[in-house]
C-alpha cells in the first residue's frame, strides 16, 4: 500500500465517523460516507469491501484508542489510592465519549460487526492489570472477572451519559464512581466468604 492509500483510508474512516455520528448507524450509507470523504464510491469499496467491514474497522480503531488511553493508568495505579484510581478511570471514559462522537451510534450496529473477541480480551486484560497494580493480592482470575465487570459498567455509564441532559451528567458520573469504588473495596477486602443464600 502506498502512502496515498493510507491517507485515503484515514479520510474514509473519519468520514464514516462523521456520517454515523450525524445520521445514526442505520441511516449511514456507503455513498454518503464516500461523498463526505470527497471520494468516489469505487474508492471506498477499494479499501472497505462492505459496510460491515468499515464498521468493524471503526470499532477496532475506537477500541485501540480506548486501550491506549488507559495504558498510562496501569503504570500509575500503584501510586494512587483507590479513590484517585476510580476517579481517573471514570473521568477518562467520559473524556473518551466526548471526543468520539460516533460512539453512541456504534452501539447499535448489528452484532455481526461487533469487535472481535480478541479486542475485547485486550480491554478486559487492560482493566485487570490496572486492578492488579492497585491490589496485588488479587487472584488473577478474579482480577479478570473484575475487569470484565468494570468494562461493562463503564460502558453503561457511556450509554447513559450521552442521553442525559447536560446538567445531570456530573452527578451521574459521581454516582458511578461510587459504584466502582464500593465494588473494588469489598472485592479486595480480605473477607469471610459469606455466600448469599440461593
Amino acid at each position: 500500500m502506498q502512502e496515498r492509500g493510507a491517507r485515503r483510508v484515514a479520510e474514509l474512516l473519519q468520514a464514516a465517523e462523521a456520517v454515523i455520528a450525524g445520521a445514526g448507524y442505520e441511516a449511514a450509507t456507503m455513498s454518503a460516507i464516500a461523498e463526505r470523504a470527497g471520494a468516489a464510491i469505487g474508492s471506498l469499496y477499494q479499501f472497505f469491501p462492505s459496510k460491515a467491514c468499515i464498521t468493524q474497522a471503526l470499532r477496532t480503531e475506537y477500541a485501540k484508542q480506548f486501550d491506549a488511553m488507559y495504558a498510562p493508568l496501569a503504570k500509575m495505579a500503584g501510586t494512587l489510592n483507590r479513590e484517585e484510581l476510580v476517579s481517573h478511570l471514570i473521568d477518562l471514559t467520559v473524556e473518551f465519549v466526548e471526543t468520539h462522537p460516533a460512539l453512541p451510534a456504534m452501539l447499535d450496529a448489528p452484532r455481526s460487526t461487533r469487535a472481535p473477541s480478541a479486542i475485547r480480551k485486550v480491554l478486559q486484560e487492560r482493566f485487570a492489570s490496572i486492578l492488579l497494580a492497585q491490589s496485588p493480592r488479587l487472584a488473577k482470575p478474579t482480577a479478570l472477572r473484575m475487569g470484565t465487570v468494570t468494562l461493562h459498567i463503564v460502558k453503561a455509564l457511556n450509554q447513559l451519559y450521552v442521553e442525559l441532559p447536560r446538567r445531570e451528567r456530573a452527578q451521574m458520573v459521581e454516582e458511578f464512581k461510587m459504584v466502582l469504588l464500593s465494588y473494588f473495596k469489598t472485592r479486595s477486602a480480605p473477607r469471610a466468604r459469606k455466600k448469599v443464600r440461593p
Copy 2:
C-alpha cells in the same frame, strides 16, 4: 377494534419477536414477520404502519412485562435484608433475559425506536420505590438516581449475560450481585460526605 384484531396484533408481535431474535434487528424484514405470523403483508401494515412502529410496540411490551415482574418486589422489599433483595433483583433480570429471546437484538435497534422516556421513567421509579422500601431513610432524589444507576447496571448484566459462555454465567451473576450490594451498602450508610478530590 374487534377481538379478531386484538388476536392478530398479538400474533404479529409474537412473530416479530421470533424473527428479530432469530435474525437480528437489521435483518428482520416486515415480510418475514408477516409470513411467520401466517398473515399477509397488508395485514401487518394495517396494525403497524411502519417497522419503527412494530419495534416500538415490542419494546413497550417488554418494558411493561419487565416492570410487572418487579412490582411484587417493591412490596416485599421491607421484609428482606439487603442481600436477599439484591439477589432477587438480579435473579429476576436473568430470568427475564432468558424468557425474552429478542431482548439482546432489540438493544441494537436505532435510537429513533427506543422506548419513549415515559416508560423509562416508570422503570426508574419502580427501582427507586424498591430501594426506598428497603432503606426508608433515603432522600427521594437520591433514590431516583440510584434507580437509574441500578437499571443501567442490570442492563449491562443482561448484555453481558447473553454473550457469555454458559458455564461462566453463574459466576458473573454473582459478581454483579456483589456490585449492587456494595453500592447499596455505601449509599445507604450514613456517612461523612468525603468528596473525592477533583
